[in-house]
């Protein structure tokens, strides 16, 4: 077997010497235990090797067939600004090429940024404890659901608001179906969770947890006053799924009385990257700390008394509990937690508030202009919203039609919720000109049709 590829360091002399040490005459001899009937008889049916310039050309060709649009879409993924310093730090190979920090002596870099990340997520949610992160907001919510059921022991019903992002609800549904959890949907009323119905549903008696959104799928900031008392009265847990960036300004899960806060941290400056990687965060109370899935980093001291960081509370984890485990998480989002820590360090106390103000201000201006144009109106005109809102289209217009026509003009108009409902979001990234172009486009559409 000849070797010329630059990923393989072995010369033919090396290979010969290594084979000799092994007491065999060829590489095939090392596979004498693989039945010949199973051995590959021919190379893979795959393309020939590419050089770097060929590979770059290949990807350039692929990427040319994507179009980056001026983004007015949200529905869980938002186009925010990422300082260049974040990418620069995150791409450092000391961070990027490390494994899970099993050996704390040579992993203080990783352990320390996770500790910073945990500290920051506790600040945002107001809760006591954060884990080291989970895959994304939808799986983090499913993990919270599993946690509710594990904490409740004999109860296995979880209520989820109809105003939770439907994809998050679907992922919870998949996990629940196979885990034997019954999910009931709390209906919505006028765009928000029906709290009256929630109270009735809690009365049924076997509820382990309740999952509520903030802001909800329609962008509405819901009022959960008194809700935690009712949930706790039946010994159930209150889970809030929150858009991470908005936690900088909105009343916190802790202030609402929630036991668990989860969600996606993509809104904390992570590139949209056509679906990932993002990061699922999870925070909880001190009381539930030992029920939380995932890695947790803690501070301690070393032999010389220095403050150092280690993975801790590992008795909770899958590799110890094996078939008694209530979660199979054995990693975290690593460099995406670093991404979050660096982003929040740079945003600081003021930056994240400014991001929210910019998105809020632009969104309200856009809504006002769209409504004034007469082609659409707020679906729930009396509900408070921050940087995202559901628009009801006038007869004759369709969400699909607007999205397709806008895409042709370089604008992502939003996300279709129903044929006549369009979910629109703004962040700090859309200029006044962008907003006007959007409004103009919609206006012209109306006259077209």
């Amino acid at each position: 077997m000849s070797n010329t590829h630059h990923y393989f360091p072995h010369t033919q002399d090396d290979i010969d010497a290594m084979l000799q040490r092994c007491g065999v005459s060829g590489l095939d001899d090392l596979y004498s235990d693989v039945p010949s009937s199973l051995r590959m008889k021919a190379p893979y049916k795959l393309p020939e090797a590419m050089t770097e310039p060929e590979l770059r050309r290949f990807f350039r060709h692929l990427d040319r067939r994507n179009e980056t649009l001026t983004c007015f879409a949200g529905a869980g993924v938002y186009h925010h600004f990422t300082p260049a310093a974040v990418d620069s730090i995150v791409s450092r190979s000391e961070f990027m090429t490390a494994y899970t920090p099993y050996q704390p002596e040579v992993s203080q870099g990783t352990l320390q940024y996770i500790f910073e990340y945990q500290s920051m997520m506790c600040e945002l949610t107001g809760l006591d404890v954060s884990n080291a992160s989970l895959y994304d907001g939808s799986t983090a919510t499913a993990e919270a659901m599993l946690m509710c059921v594990a904490a409740a022991k004999k109860k296995n019903r979880v209520l989820i608001s109809a105003t939770v992002n439907p994809i998050v609800a679907q992922v919870c549904g998949t996990y629940a179906r196979w885990h034997g959890i019954a999910i009931d949907t709390i209906p919505e009323h006028d765009g928000v969770t029906s709290l009256e119905t929630l109270e009735d549903m809690l009365g049924a008696g076997d509820v382990a947890g309740v999952i509520l959104p903030q802001p909800n799928y329609y962008g509405i900031v819901e009022d959960f006053s008194g809700v935690s008392d009712k949930i706790h009265a039946v010994k159930a847990l209150m889970v809030m799924n929150c858009v991470a960036s908005t936690l900088a300004v909105l009343r916190t899960p802790a202030e609402w009385g929630a036991d668990i806060a989860v969600g996606d941290a993509q809104s904390l400056g992570m590139p949209m990257n056509y679906g990932g990687p993002y990061l699922g965060y999870m925070c909880t109370t001190r009381a539930l700390m030992r029920k939380m899935p995932g890695r947790i980093v803690g501070a301690t001291t070393d032999a010389s008394g220095k403050r150092v960081f280690v993975l801790t509370l590992q008795a909770r984890e899958q590799h110890i509990r094996r078939d008694k485990a209530t979660s199979n998480i054995c990693s975290n989002q690593g460099v995406m937690a670093l991404h979050t820590a660096v982003y929040l360090s740079l945003m600081g106390r003021d930056g994240l508030r400014e991001v929210n103000e910019a998105g809020c201000s632009t969104m309200h201006a856009l809504v006002q202009k769209l409504c004034a144009g007469g082609q659409m109106e707020l679906a729930y005109p009396h509900k408070p919203y921050l940087n995202e809102a559901l628009m009801r289209l006038k007869p004759g217009l369709s969400a699909r039609g607007i999205i397709d026509k806008a895409a042709a003009a370089g604008i992502l108009a939003g996300v279709e919720v129903a044929p006549d409902l369009l979910l629109v979001a703004c962040t700090e990234m859309q200029s006044t000109e962008d907003v006007d172009a959007y409004v103009e486009l919609v206006k012209n559409m109306n006259t077209d049709e």
Partner: protein
């Protein structure tokens, strides 16, 4: 790696009045949130985030990084983790301004390139795995296992076979296997290993009945041995009406040698962050695509990328017979791009060398050390091998001491105390990207440690001495948890 501990927290650099970036915002925006929302919906106090300038923040994280060991820093022989080189071209191609701004819900016609990339990788992995189709959605190996087990449950459920509630795993399995099965609502039955670490086929047969949904195996297994009776195992599993699941954690030595689909496996996952060179990132993000044999495609999760008859690509989100969703969208796209770049860089011929070279490296190291360390299983290993500590146990030097002393010598430690089959497990996986010189240096270090175990074992037990910190008080960490900055003050 810097042997001095950096250790400062970003919160400790914070000074009121400093800021780390300028946010694009108009003056009109100031106070917008308070105008839009009633006080009752707003938080009482701003979150206590650090206030640092950009240069200080960059220096802070750069200093922090110097206390980390990575594949780029040195040899990382962590068993079952496949810490191979993470090619730089993959990093260059993984993220770019062209893809950063692609929203997952934008119309398919505006993301044709991204969908083609997905489709290509799906089909490449199918060829490599010997499977009919892959879903790239799962975010990690454990997530792939969970998804794969759900696929299996969906298959049985659709046939009305609701009694299959058990999954059989070997006692040598990764802890994740039983944990994934538990989350998928299955009961775990362990099957015994033979002394050589392979499955005891008689024991397995005695446990196979109509209550078994699946048997989960890694092949080679966690001791680095190939299950040579896999055709018989597959036959027995299928005869019992169960499906055979391939945990792709140990796929690397099989590249160029044999395909799981040809071995009789029905469902598998691949850890792209192991076999396909995407970086581990200190814990993530990874990717754990799930593949299935012909006939099981419809159970793969939504959404899925499909190729239409006219050659265009689309996304299906609501296929009726599919599993449902396990992810927000189509997976970790930038991780998947790296794996695609890796496959294209090695090409059909290059991939054929991966398994044999990885196996050669492992056997070379094993045969260079088995006169001093106890090799509990005879014969050639595959990509990794397990020692049961030092041969000479009279000095009281344990696997933990060996591992910590390696850190002093500039190597990452092997995986220790796993698999659970041996008391002093020390599991080494060198991968195909390490040069003979590196392997020789590691062998020399391991031999020196064995020598120190007799000549100066009391000092050896103090290791590590040259790392940024040593001997953390883990009991204190767990009994008085300090899990955030404010817990320290």
């Amino acid at each position: 790696m810097n042997s001095e501990l950096y250790g400062t927290l970003v919160f400790e650099l914070s000074r009121k009045g400093r800021r780390g970036c300028a946010v694009p915002a108009t003056e009109a925006a100031a106070g917008a949130v308070h105008r839009a929302l009633p006080e009752s919906l707003l938080r009482k106090e701003a979150p206590d985030m650090p206030m640092v300038d950009e240069p200080s923040a960059v220096r802070h994280y750069t200093n922090m990084s110097t206390n980390n060991f990575g594949v780029d820093t040195g040899f990382y022989p962590l068993g079952s983790c496949t810490m191979k080189y993470n090619p730089k071209i993959n990093e260059a191609l993984a993220s770019s301004p062209e893809i950063a701004g692609l929203h997952p819900f934008q119309p398919a016609a505006t993301v044709r390139g991204a969908l083609e990339a997905y489709y290509l990788l799906q089909s490449f992995l199918s060829e490599i795995g010997g499977m009919a189709e892959f879903s790239l959605n799962p975010y990690a190996g454990a997530h792939g296992e969970l998804t794969g087990l759900m696929v299996i449950r969906a298959y049985h459920a659709e046939r009305g076979d609701f009694g299959r509630t058990k999954v059989i795993v070997p006692d040598s399995a990764h802890g994740t296997n039983p944990a994934s099965a538990a989350v998928a609502g299955l009961q775990i039955v362990e099957t015994r290993s033979m002394p050589d670490g392979t499955v005891d086929l008689d024991d397995l047969r005695s446990k196979l009945d109509e209550s078994v949904a699946a048997v989960m195996l890694t092949n080679p297994n966690t001791t680095g041995m190939f299950e040579r009776r896999i055709p018989e195992i597959a036959e027995a599993v299928h005869a019992a009406g169960a499906l055979l699941y391939y945990d792709g954690a140990n796929l690397n030595p099989m590249l160029g040698v044999a395909r799981p689909g040809d071995m009789g496996f029905d469902v598998m996952h691949i850890n792209l962050h192991k076999t396909f060179s995407t970086p581990h990132g200190g814990g993530g993000p990874g990717a754990g695509p799930v593949g299935v044999r012909a006939g099981l495609e419809k159970y793969l999760p939504n959404p899925r990328v499909v190729k239409h008859l006219d050659g265009s690509f689309g996304v299906i989100s609501d296929s009726d017979s599919a599993l449902g969703r396990v992810t927000f969208w189509l997976g970790n796209y930038t991780v998947l791009r790296r794996a695609l770049a890796y496959i294209l860089t090695l090409g059909a011929d290059g991939l054929m060398h991966v398994g044999p070279f990885a196996t050669l490296a492992a056997n070379y190291v094993m045969n260079s050390l088995n006169d001093l360390y106890k090799q509990p299983i005879p014969g050639p290993c595959k990509h990794e091998f397990v020692f049961d500590g030092l041969l000479d146990k009279s000095t009281g030097v344990t696997t933990l001491h060996v591992a910590k002393r390696l850190l002093d010598m500039g190597f990452h430690a092997p995986t220790i105390y796993f698999p659970l089959l041996f008391h002093e497990s020390l599991m080494v996986e060198p991968t195909e990207t390490e040069s003979k010189e590196t392997l020789d240096a590691f062998i020399a270090a391991m031999r020196k440690i064995a020598e120190e175990a007799t000549s100066r074992h009391e000092q050896l037990k103090q290791a590590p001495l040259c790392t940024p910190m040593s001997h953390p008080d883990e009991t204190e960490a767990a009994t008085h948890p300090k899990l955030k900055w404010k817990d320290l003050t």
